[in-house]
Symmetry: C2
DNA sequence: TACTATCATGTAATTAATTACATGTTTTAA
DNA sequence: TTAAAACATGTAATTAATTACATGATAGTA
């Protein structure tokens, strides 16, 4: 396998909460899920077909207006089972984060490199924006303690992402401060 | 493009430091670089050919022993130029970290889910090990201040990775502690 | 009524990346 | 001296993922 095809499990996981169309799933990747996983509709529709062939999901056609057909997919018992399996199975592989900025940094040899300040500054701006964005999401998605209870995993990972960005920003600030002053 | 083919730049970056064979490069991905990027030899050898066709690198054949041929690649002036371009160009896309554990967590609805403790525990173990490993590397790779000076970018990102793991471990511990106690 | 944004579903082409297949040499240690 | 580990270089098959191509319906608004 080139990857472990996690997309199938994400789809199963989302359908396990409620029936959705391919379009709905695509939207989910632009919002909620998009925070930590991406997929385009060109990947989603074929995957839905495969999952249905395997018997893990099924669909019924509904018609909106005069003739617009929607395929509303739902998870099957077998689908639920392999979703449970996937979640229950250990996750021993820590995937290296393929961060392009980090990669570029690796090839900077000297702390006097004139590109360093702007590079760090750009990332600081980006990660600060992301930090604020996550802060906002945490606030809007989990308004009351009950919503945390109902989506505890989501709460945990949003909190995790926020903390991660906070650290990233701190590290960038520290690295900028440690740079030799031009004079 | 499916990705932005960062591999070519990594190869150029490594060859910019010293001439290397395909085998050397493969090893580099198992050690140094492996900390934050992966590539197999089956990807490296074809990429070397492409880079040579493009005129960014060139090679000479050396013979070890009786007949074992090695291709020692070095970067060309043009190669150096596009490497510089890549590093100097902004890096505005923050790649979402595709962490399988995080993904699984997302589908855990309740903090009473019986799978939660073992899941968090497993990750705690893994990330603690990784943390210690990184701590060790930082110690062995950068023994004196001079080595930090000579490979400043590498120093920065190792430090960054260490801090990231430290935070991950903290977050896992906190999440474990916040779990409702079984009774 | 006409236009635009969004809804809705697909396929094709291309690139990236992993796993597997394939072969031969040199060095080191038992 | 012989066997194993490491050195060394490739190709093929498969899967994953992105970008581009392609089509049409519905809802809202100007």
């Amino acid at each position: 396998m080139a990857q472990k095809n996690k997309l199938q499990f994400i789809i199963l996981g989302l359908l396990n909460q409620q029936p959705l169309t391919g379009y709905d799933l695509t939207k989910a990747f632009e919002n909620e899920i998009g925070e930590f996983w991406q997929a385009q509709h060109s990947q989603i529709y074929p995957q839905l077909k495969r999952l249905e062939t395997q018997g893990y999901i099924a669909h019924e056609v509904t018609v909106s207006g005069a003739k617009l057909e929607k395929k509303l997919y739902h998870i099957t018992t077998e689908g639920s089972a392999i979703l449970r399996d996937w979640i229950s199975t250990g996750t021993p592989d820590l995937t290296a984060t393929k961060d392009e900025f980090i990669l570029k940094l690796y090839f900077i040899r000297s702390n006097h490199d004139p590109r360093l300040p702007e590079m760090l500054q750009e990332q600081l701006q980006l990660h600060t924006t992301k930090y604020h964005h996550l802060q906002q999401r945490l606030k809007t998605v989990f308004t009351d303690p009950a919503s945390k209870q109902a989506h505890y995993g989501h709460y945990l990972i949003l909190q995790h992402a926020l903390g991660r960005e906070e650290y990233y920003v701190d590290w960038l600030k520290q690295s900028l401060a440690a740079l030799p002053t031009a004079r």
